[in-house]
């Protein structure tokens, strides 16, 4: 009974609570038990069980008083990059050891104001820098799709814990953040839905910053409708984020019932890489057929600057990261390695506190921003970024959404790419372009490869047109069905 409750989606659980089929206490207990049972996955890095139990009692009381809010009693796990008041938040970095925020991120605060309950802070790549969750100081996450007797597969990253906990049916929804693919890539690897909203749609306030012109929060869920429901509650204007968009949030959940006849779906030819495994190109072709069968119009489009997106990203993101991470100095918060003068304090603290990949990216950022190199690297990358955004603008004159694979491979074994940063960076080849252009994008589970591992297809939409994006995503979902790991499916 209790593990069945943890398998409910957001909308199903909300209906069950409203109908009195279960209580918030039962639902929260079921998720706590499921997370406990999935302990070997290493998805949860901060224990929130006691708080969650107290919040569940409160939620049931509100419901009895007919004061239930839209997400009253719904458990949600939150990536360890969102500041949660009174709950340790470290972005899975040693340098934030012992940090307990005095404030709550806008996005998570909105969830709690809508009645949702925090059940689990989730594991992630350190400061969201990684595509496999292996840079976490809390250790790697095991993908629930890993073969029982085989090697541990990575869940993707950086929101690896959030994707894995949802895939393991140990919570109905989780929050992640996406800078270059950190929601969509793990969603694809774990067989769940991952939505990156338009840049500016959700407030960045209270989210530990990686690259401020790219970071965006979004949901990971087991259905498109649930992703829409969560987005509806976390989106919206926030005066505390200077790039927050002052736009009304559409009724996303209701919009899913809309008609998609005549939808124009673009297929970018530059994404047809020779190196793409046939399981992925076949699935992509299948996706095209599904849309055609649903009455959509398919068009080949060109995004000529696609191949420059990753190199541009690896200038822009590290440059912004080196500036954002300058605040970790061992003085105001987090861990400290003492020195005899301030400079020694800084250099020791940052050496001991940051992991290898984070130090590497700070070095790249420091170099491209340094005197004499700024124009050649940073300025040029921002010009290339303009070109990439123009490509998309051009394409969206002829189509309403773009259909691409989410990742160039399925989940790979732990340790496979840790010695080669460039091989790791290539994981985000299909997700980074939309990030650079600030566009909304979603990964929808679409099939399994020959090894039985999940693969996602990505849809990219126009800026602030999450409605069309989600409508298109439901077509994929309806055609493909949903996927649960064999260990969880029983």
């Amino acid at each position: 009974m209790s593990s069945d409750l943890a398998r409910l989606g957001v909308a199903e659980a909300a209906d069950g609570l409203a109908a009195g089929d279960c209580s918030a206490v039962e639902l929260v207990e079921a998720c706590i038990a499921a997370q406990e049972a999935a302990r070997d996955l290493n998805v949860v890095v901060a224990d929130t069980a006691e708080r969650a139990r107290a919040a569940a009692v409160h939620a049931d009381q509100r419901r009895r008083r007919n004061e239930a809010r839209p997400l009253e009693g719904i458990p949600v796990a939150v990536k360890d990059i969102f500041c949660t008041e009174g709950v340790a938040t470290t972005a899975c970095s040693r340098i934030l050891d012992g940090f307990v925020p005095e404030y709550e991120s806008t996005v998570s605060a909105r969830l709690w104001e809508a009645g949702a309950i925090l059940v689990g802070k989730t594991n992630m790549d350190e400061f969201a820098m990684g595509s496999s969750n292996e840079t976490s100081r809390c250790g790697p996450v095991r993908n629930p799709w890993s073969p029982v007797d085989g090697p541990s597969l990575v869940p993707g990253g950086s929101s690896g814990g959030s994707a894995a906990v949802v895939a393991a049916s140990a919570v109905p929804a989780a929050l992640g953040t996406d800078t270059g693919g950190s929601i969509r890539q793990p969603a694809s690897f774990c067989g769940v839905v991952g939505l990156k909203p338009t840049y500016g749609r959700c407030s960045r306030w209270g989210i530990i910053a990686f690259a401020s012109s790219l970071d965006q929060a979004g949901p990971l869920t087991r259905s498109v409708a649930d992703a829409a429901l969560i987005l509806e509650h976390i989106a919206g204007f926030d005066p505390r984020d200077s790039t927050s968009a002052d736009l009304a949030v559409p009724d996303l959940h209701a919009a899913l019932q809309g008609n998609v006849k005549g939808l124009r779906v673009g297929v970018p030819s530059e994404y047809r890489l020779d190196s793409l495994p046939s399981s992925i190109s076949d699935l992509w072709e299948q996706g095209i057929v599904w849309f055609r069968d649903a009455g959509a119009e398919l068009r080949e489009v060109s995004l000529p600057h696609t191949r420059y997106a990753l190199p541009a990203y690896y200038i822009v993101a590290p440059a912004e990261a080196s500036a954002n991470l300058a605040r970790y100095d061992g003085v105001r918060f987090g861990a400290r390695s003492m020195g005899t003068d301030p400079d020694e304090l800084y250099t020791r603290t940052r050496r001991d506190g940051f992991g290898e990949e984070v130090r590497r990216r700070i070095m790249i950022g420091g170099y491209v921003l340094s005197e004499g190199y700024y124009d050649a690297y940073y300025l040029r990358a921002q010009q290339v970024r303009t070109r990439i955004a123009e490509d998309f603008r051009q394409a969206f004159q002829d189509v309403d959404v773009l259909l691409t694979p989410t990742t160039p491979s399925s989940a790979f074994p732990e340790g496979d790419k840790t010695d080669d940063p460039l091989a790791m960076y290539v994981n985000d080849i299909f997700t980074v372009p939309a990030s650079l252009a600030g566009l909304p994008a979603i990964s929808v589970p679409a099939g399994l490869d020959e090894a039985g591992l999940p693969l996602g297809l990505q849809l990219v939409g126009r800026a602030f047109d999450e409605v069309t994006l989600l409508q298109a995503a439901t077509i994929l979902e309806d055609a493909a069905g949903t996927f649960r790991p064999p260990t969880v499916a029983a």
């Binding site: 005095e102 968009a245 987090g334 005899t340 250099t347 940052r350 070095m363 790249i364 602030f464």
Partner: protein, 95 residues
């Protein structure tokens, strides 16, 4: 594009990350490999292209220049590795 040992030392100093002398060479080689991959950007014609400064088209907002927060030294110092009498504690700066 190859980074020299001095480049590596200079950048490490700029970003305030202590580096052991034995790490300089391998790190330089690794960063050089990443930068030669980034060199592809030189192929793009960017003449007359404005660098992206705003990801989505929006007007920058203004607000009143007024204090809206503050008077909470305990909360601000609450996460400090060392604090005393309402101050952060750092190593001696002036002899």
């Amino acid at each position: 594009m190859a980074l020299t040992d001095d480049d590596v030392r200079r950048v490490a100093e700029l970003v305030r990350i202590r580096l052991d002398e034995t790490e300089v060479k391998p790190l330089g080689e690794e960063l050089s490999r990443i930068f030669s991959w980034i060199e592809a950007l030189r192929e793009v014609d960017v003449a007359g292209v404005a660098p992206m400064t705003s990801v989505v088209e929006m007007q920058l907002r203004e607000r009143d220049d007024a204090v809206t927060d503050g008077n909470c030294p305990d909360r601000i110092l609450g996460n400090a590795p060392a604090a005393e009498d309402g101050h952060f504690v750092v190593p001696r700066v002036i002899e």
